[in-house]
Symmetry: C2
């Protein structure tokens, strides 16, 4: 079963998409064809969106789902004329919020005048993650909020970047290599910052698959090598009392939020 | 005026937060104290959340706003007993969706069994962005989806990373330095990929402020230097017919989605 979905916004469309994805995962048996229409902020663009929706409706023989976060009522009204089934987020929630808060809503598009401090915190954290990726440097660990460790390709890099981008957290990462693992010992540069360490764990099968995508049929990607590294690193985590998380079945978002939850790390933005 | 807000989820809480932030920006005169409670997926955790909400309600003398994306009805019912004003996203939308689709919802937490292909696309794009940051390499430009250019500190790096993380797009970036700008000429490695180039523009005042944060009172951060670089790069953009965007007032999300819109770039995920 197929159904078209339109995410429509007068901004980036990210809120409509995020909410939409959450809702649609509840209907796993339906295949959704998703279209995002950002910056629908004039009547002309709204009419163009309506034409597009109506075309798709005629083509498919059913009403597309419309999930919109448009602030302006007049533009919303134009979209409401489309041959679709509309889920209007602001219409649904803003009235009740207004009542509860006793304050009138701005009714203007979230011109989130860039919050300069938050922007700086975030960009600095991103640059920190890049500079301190993959054990490249250890001398900035004093100013790290957290240092992720794990075997190669366990998801450290994207997690650090996500922690920076989403939460402004300064996250470094350090791959434990065979040398470290053989001795079942932490490198000195890590020992000094033991209270900032957080381990990623991954199951051998998934690690083998990921590494094979990268270097097929190499020793690095072999099941034996992966198993050995994972056993060794788990030993280190336990021996050194480093908190760790099995990330085999997790998305990057989930790894990041779980780490914050488990470690009690403070967000710097958001 | 202050009001506490709880974002509650049985998952990461990202959907509740994203939606909540959009709604709350409509009430700019209220200062919201925001707390995210992720992974509230057992009755025990739900009761703990209720206790927390009730404490805050008693302390503040008003009802906290609760924005939740909890899938499980029983857990939702526990939260509904809290002394708060609840905006229940799934309760609100899933029933209507069920009716429109004629399909029962799963009613299980979005155990988004990691989509292996999407995961790989995303992680590869993140590594691509890192490897091709700041003009570090140019030999992978054949496999780039887009190459961002701009003066130093105009937002290229975080935008590339966001494009990778959110949309799986392989984005490289190359800073145009004084040498390039003086000659008003594109380096050869860029000329060969002219159709992938996209320029970032920033106003001199903002650039000066950003650079001063980094290297205070340097020539690099001086108003004159910034103005000169910006005038020169605009000349190049126009002469070489490179599409460009003024990002001075934009968040990273907005820069990324605008680039996709203007360039017609295809998302690889999401």
């Amino acid at each position: 079963m197929n159904r078209s979905v339109f995410f429509i916004s007068d901004g980036t469309g990210i809120t409509a998409e995020t909410l939409g994805h959450s809702l649609l995962t509840q209907f796993g048996c339906v295949t959704f064809e998703q279209v995002t229409l950002p910056y629908v902020d004039t009547p002309e663009r709204a009419h163009a969106a309506v034409r597009k929706i109506n075309e798709v409706a005629a083509e498919n023989g059913n009403k597309p789902i419309i999930i919109d976060t448009i602030v302006d009522k007049d533009i919303r009204r134009i979209i409401a004329n489309a041959n679709g089934c509309m889920f209007d987020v602001f219409e649904t929630f803003v009235g009740k919020l207004e009542q509860e808060l006793g304050v009138k809503p701005a009714n203007t598009v979230g011109k989130h005048t860039v919050d300069t401090l938050a922007y700086k915190t975030r960009i600095d954290a991103v640059h920190f993650a890049l500079d301190n990726d993959d054990g490249a440097r250890t001398r900035q660990y004093d100013s790290a909020d957290i240092i992720l460790i794990g075997v190669s390709r366990s998801g450290k890099t994207p997690t650090c970047i996500y922690l920076a981008m989403q939460f402004g957290i300064r996250a470094a990462n350090y791959p434990l290599t065979e040398d470290d693992l053989d001795g079942e010992n932490l490198p000195k540069s890590l020992k000094e910052h033991r209270n900032k360490l957080f381990g990623l764990m991954i199951d051998a099968e998934r690690l083998t698959a990921i590494r094979n995508e990268r270097k097929a049929n190499s020793r690095y990607a072999s099941a034996q090598q992966c198993q050995q590294e994972i056993r060794a690193i788990e030993g280190i985590y336990i021996k050194e009392k480093i908190p760790f998380l099995d990330v085999s079945e997790m998305s990057v978002e989930e790894i990041a939020t779980r780490i914050i939850q488990v470690s009690g790390l403070k967000r710097r933005i958001g």
